[in-house]
């Protein structure tokens, strides 16, 4: 049976939209746009404190975007927590899986550290590192660790807030000392970016793992029971 809306109206509308988008894209990239921001950005990378251009953009040129983006991540987690407590979790893993997890988790944490460091001059950075940490948490959760290796709620809260906090406070302090919001002084940029990225990595990892649990972590005593 043909449903007119689903089989005729929407597809034809989408085809028309696609044509319009394709045409616009064609005109846009064949137009006189030159290098867009590429050359400007690449030219300023040496002043940014890091040599990886993407990290320069993320943590320096457009650091404010990144700050708000960390806030978005935190919002999602707080929203998830407001919906209720986490479910009971998975049953305890058998010894083979448990052994693998015991091996992989430290490896992931190590890789995360590497990713964080390498981000300064090669692809990598806080998000990639945070994602690895988060993956470690997910792995623990899948293996039946009730709280995905995360600390109790009291200690988890500062951890997930850390990234935004360090970022925002750095911004405000820099404004107070006179440079302007998130304007790194020459020479300090590298270290400030590293500090912010480290805090962000920890927060991102913790947030992703906590979000995977799907609710507020169980209280301490419950954790102990399951462990």
């Amino acid at each position: 049976m043909i449903r007119p809306l689903e089989h005729i109206v929407i597809p034809s509308g989408l085809i028309a939209l696609g044509g319009l988008l394709g045409w616009s894209l064609f005109l846009a990239i064949t137009g006189e746009t030159g290098d867009r921001l590429a050359e400007i950005a690449l030219a300023r990378v040496p002043d940014s404190g890091v040599s990886n251009p993407v990290t320069s953009v993320l943590l320096n040129f457009r650091a404010y975007d990144t700050l708000l983006e960390l806030a978005v991540l935190l919002t999602a987690l707080l929203g998830i927590w407001s919906l209720g407590a986490a479910g009971p979790g998975f049953q305890k893993a058998a010894s083979v899986l448990e052994g693998m997890v015991a091996g992989f988790v430290p490896l992931l944490i190590l890789s995360a550290g590497y990713m964080l460091w390498v981000g300064a001059y090669a692809p990598g950075g806080a998000f990639q590192a945070g994602a690895l940490l988060g993956a470690a948490g997910v792995m623990l959760a899948l293996a039946g660790h009730r709280n995905a290796g995360l600390p109790s709620e009291d200690r988890l809260r500062p951890l997930v807030a850390l990234g935004v906090f360090v970022f925002a406070i750095t911004g405000v302090l820099l404004a107070v000392v006179g440079g302007g919001f998130l304007t790194y002084p020459a020479g300090l940029a590298k270290w400030l970016i590293l500090i912010i990225e480290t805090a962000a990595t920890l927060s991102i990892g913790a947030t992703l793992a906590a979000a995977y649990l799907g609710g507020r972590p169980a209280p301490e005593h419950a954790t102990r029971e399951s462990a």
Binding site: L20, L21, W23, S24, L25, L27, A28, I29, G31, T33, G34, D35, R36, L37, I40, A41, R44, N60, F61, R62, A63, Y64, D65, L67, L68, E69, A71, V72, L74, T75, A76, L78, G79, W81, S82, L83, G84, R157, P158, V160, A161, V164, F165, A168, I169, G171, V172, A175, V176, G179, G180, F181, L182, T183, Y184
Partner: protein, 479 residues
């Protein structure tokens, strides 16, 4: 001197973090955060008032590489309204939420506030996308705080629709970057030239925004989401969040896509607005629950705002157009105050009565004179009766419509006005009954006074003392 612009965004953010870390002190910390946020944002407005448009290049890079925050008269006006309303909502929430819910409310609320201030001050198209998402996520999470199944379902729908809107907006931004190679609003405005690319980008961006602004017929998600949220959240969602989407659409329309516009596009928005006015008002009249009524009335009021587009498009640049624009802003601001007041007062009535079925509200309405007064004052502004700001705004819009010979907008707006009178008085009439005389005018100061104050601002403040708005809006535009 520290730049006030980033502070207006960062302070609520830091407040949110403090509440996140110490949830046991959520109320105190939250109120403190609310206060300093409002102070910082109002500082921005007064600075714009006295010194003209402000700009802060974050990171010191400047456009096009860095991101800037900018405040001109338009953003300063919306910023002031949003922060005053948010402050009132905060005071109200301090008395409204019990301990457990307060833990969840305050951090999300301050994050939402941060997103609002960020959105009003942003001068970068991609940064706006991030603030839109922050706004959308925090709003949906707050809306579901009642925890009922209806609330969760409605806000999930809201979240998804919001995401779709953001996606459309982001695609528009990508096209803009592809074609013009910049993201700063001012620079994009310089680069834009009429043509299919600009037209498509505009359609995608403004299309995404009207989805978020719940313009008829894309309003379907709004009534259940706003009606099922806790009262202070409903107030913020209806008064501020949808207005923010409207603000952004207006901003893009005026500052970025002005050369691209055709009257046809403006008329389309106007026609949708007219549909919203009639349909939203009608549904509000038929609503059985007070909060649903208020939510449908939001749909109708967003419609009035979009009727401004065809009027603006048809008015040649000059004094008349500036006055018209100011009238539209006045309309939006008054609606913000009034709608928040209405929802806050409705929340008190609902709490006292234990329900919000309009036909059975007699006792509660009679027992809470201050809340009923707040509903009345807010109602006067929502209907557009004098001496409210909406009355002035509608008068100016309609006068301009008549000067242009576009008399049908007058018909639409008068129909909406009469329907609004009908649904508002349907509620107010419940307060006149044979229940015992109330003992006091104000029963619970921390919740009733904010509602009353918002109603007073909408009805008297912006009606009698709206003149400064004109001066504020003269303070330089973007671009």
């Amino acid at each position: 001197m520290i730049d006030a612009l980033p502070l207006a965004v960062t302070l609520p953010l830091i407040g949110a973090l403090a509440v996140t870390v110490w949830p046991a002190h959520a109320r105190g910390l939250g109120l403190a955060g609310a206060l300093i946020t409002a102070v910082s944002a109002l500082t921005v407005t007064t600075e714009v008032w006295s010194r003209g448009a402000l700009r802060a290049d974050l990171g010191g890079w400047g456009a096009p590489l860095g991101i800037a925050l900018e405040a001109d008269g338009l953003s300063a006006a919306f910023l002031a309204m949003a922060n005053l309303v948010a402050l009132a909502v905060s005071v109200y929430a301090g008395g409204y939420f019990k301990r457990e819910t307060a833990r969840h409310f305050w951090p999300l609320w301050l994050l939402l506030w941060s997103a609002l201030n960020g959105l009003f001050l942003a001068a970068d198209l991609f940064n706006l996308y991030v603030t839109l998402e922050l706004l959308g996520l925090s709003a949906a999470a707050l809306g579901a705080l009642t925890g009922t199944r209806e609330a969760v379902a409605a806000n999930l729908r809201y979240l998804l629709v919001g995401l779709l809107g953001s996606m459309s907006y982001l695609l528009g931004v990508a096209l803009v970057y592809a074609a013009y190679g910049v993201l700063d609003i001012g620079l994009v405005a310089e680069a834009v030239e009429p043509g299919p690319v600009a037209w498509t980008a505009m359609t995608l961006m403004i299309g995404g925004l009207i989805l978020k602004a719940a313009l008829f017929p894309m309003h379907f998600w709004l009534p259940p989401a706003h009606a099922n949220a806790p009262a202070p959240v409903s107030a913020a969602l209806s008064a501020l969040v949808v207005k923010a989407a409207f603000y952004l659409a207006l901003r893009l329309w005026l500052d970025v896509f002005a050369p691209v516009l055709g009257e046809a596009a403006a008329n389309l928005l106007g026609i949708l607005g007219a549909g919203a006015v009639v349909w939203g008002s009608w549904r509000a009249l038929r609503a059985e629950r007070l909060k649903l009524l208020a939510a449908y009335s939001t749909v109708a009021q967003m419609g009035y705002l979009f009727i401004a587009f065809p009027l603006l498009a048809a008015t040649p640049p000059g004094l008349a157009r500036e006055n018209l624009l100011a009238a539209v802003v006045l309309l939006a601001l008054t609606h913000g105050f009034a709608k928040a007041g209405l929802f806050l007062a409705a929340g008190m009535v609902q709490k006292t009565a234990g329900h919000d079925r309009i036909d059975e509200l007699g006792g509660a309405a009679q027992a809470l004179p201050a809340a009923t007064f707040a509903i009345g004052l807010a109602g006067v502004a929502l209907i557009g009766l004098p001496p409210s700001g909406t009355f002035l705004a509608k008068w100016m819009m309609l006068e301009q419509a008549m000067i242009l010979g576009l008399w049908w907008w007058l018909v639409v707006m008068m129909v909406g006005t009469l329907l609004a009178a009908a649904y508002i008085f349907r509620v107010l009439s419940r307060a006149f009954n044979r229940e015992p005389t109330p003992y006091r005018f104000v029963n619970d100061a921390s919740t009733e006074l904010p509602a009353l104050l918002l109603g007073l601002i909408a009805t008297f403040g912006l009606g009698i003392a709206a003149q400064p708005l004109w001066r504020l809006l003269e303070q330089g535009a973007f671009g």
